[in-house]
């Protein structure tokens, strides 16, 4: 569905103008910490999905905990999983692209 006046939606900007300050002596620490938080968010997202899924399936009597352990997915699913792992890595290490330094704008009034 294109928006009314014929213009389509541009990708929304994801980076704010301006630099991020580093707090640790070595800014690598800031980057790793930032990645850790993103990773934690990914971890929680996944965990919530799995827990929700298990609860749903068990409530419908679809499987027993043993069957879940034994199951193996097909080749196509394995390739999909690899794509998802690459995106996960890119998201977790997005902090490596973050510029650090002083903000350029100060209150000059």
């Amino acid at each position: 569905m294109a928006s009314e006046r014929g213009k389509t939606m541009a990708d929304i900007e994801r980076k704010a103008k301006g630099r991020q300050k580093a707090f640790f002596k070595d800014e690598a620490t800031d980057k790793i910490l930032s990645s850790l938080l993103v990773l934690l968010s990914e971890h929680w997202t996944l965990k919530q999905r799995v827990l929700t899924l298990e609860k749903l399936l068990q409530s419908k009597g679809c499987f027993t905990p043993d069957e879940l352990e034994e199951h193996e997915v097909d080749e196509q699913a394995k390739m999909e999983f690899e794509g998802m792992r690459q995106k996960l890595l890119a998201d977790v290490f997005a902090s490596l692209e973050q510029e650090y330094g002083e903000s350029e704008i100060k209150d000059e009034s």
Binding site: M1, A2, S3, E4, R5, K7, M9, A10, D11, I12, E13, R14, K15, A16, K17, G18, Q20, K21, A22, F23, F24, T29, D30, L33, S34, L37, V38, L40, S41, W44, T45, Q48, R49, T52, S95, S103, I105, K106, D107, E108, S109
Partner: protein, 396 residues
Amino acid sequence: MPLELQHQLNIKKTLDESSKLDFVASLRAFVLNDMANKMRSRYEDKVEPTFERKHKRKPESGTEVHKALMDEQYFQFYSSMRCTAQRMVWNSVIDPIERNYDSLSETATKLIDADNLDENQSLEIPRNVSALDVHLSPGGYSKEYNDHDITTGAIYDNGLAVFSFGMMGLNLDDIGMSMANYIRHTFPDFKPEKIVDFGCTVGHNTSALAKTWSDAEVTGIDVAAPLLRYAAARSKSQNLNVKYSQQDAEKTDFPDNSVDMVFSSMFLHELSAKVRKKVFKEAYRILKPGGLMLHMELPPADQLGAYDNFYLDWDSYYNNEPYYKGFRAENCQANCVEAGFAEEDYLQFTTPQYTYISDDEYQQKINQDDQDMDDKVGRLSNELSWYGFGAWKNNG
């Protein structure tokens, strides 16, 4: 579950999207409550005594506290995590907005008409808005992706819901509700007929004014068109009669002596000192005699201790808020007087949150409270209260 916006522009999130929103809100609550308390203890138990031994006195200003804390590892973790959490707030809402953009835009367009939105495409966007992505929000307030765009509005509304981790009410309007009801209870004879909200953003607090004084003609002004479009649709979908108009608060279209109340919240600290002075003068100009100028803001530095000043000014150092500290260093009463208000017509107060208690309880609370300034004023934490100040325009 993340807070669902209480209007038609609410986005249906996927399970993963809502898990991420939940996570970021929890992370913010963890950093701003747990970690903030621990950082304060570290400061009191270790950093301050060290400073005192060296200088034979305690730190006297927020700046000194800040300097003393810089090498403290806990401060570094707190700050670094808070910065990342801030970026995550915006990023967590951009995905679902982008995914739903077309239908969101269509819903908004249907709700907007000439009665509730007045755009001015030739308005020059001031530098504090155009040159800066305040509080690290990508695109800031004014970036437009097309000529009827609402993106920055959607980012702000959804982002605020995560940012405030449930502390600003379901409608994100607790500031407006608390301010308006404080005035309603304290000055029961004051019945404003015409109200203007300066720097209204998505109209979340403007709506509170329209709810409190339902007969009043309420107008929200802002310089950023995508925010105003979103605001107009938001208010309309809540059946609130609010008009939005694209104007610069420095120089509005309202005639002299035409408005009963000029309101703003969290607005003044995003202006340079020079612009701020002009905005006060403009408020004075458009107010009727007997009218009220009312601002909700961060509490001024001279009313708080050194540590609390450091804590509130954190945003100025690290959250792309270059004017915040300068604003807090000013004297609010002197600003009002300089703009033409009489010294004795100045008022200031703190108010508890209105949203979570009944109207009766609220009234009791504001009558009892000695309304002290303390470390709970103006910061998102348990038992928070809001600071307000302003002045009546002299009748004579």
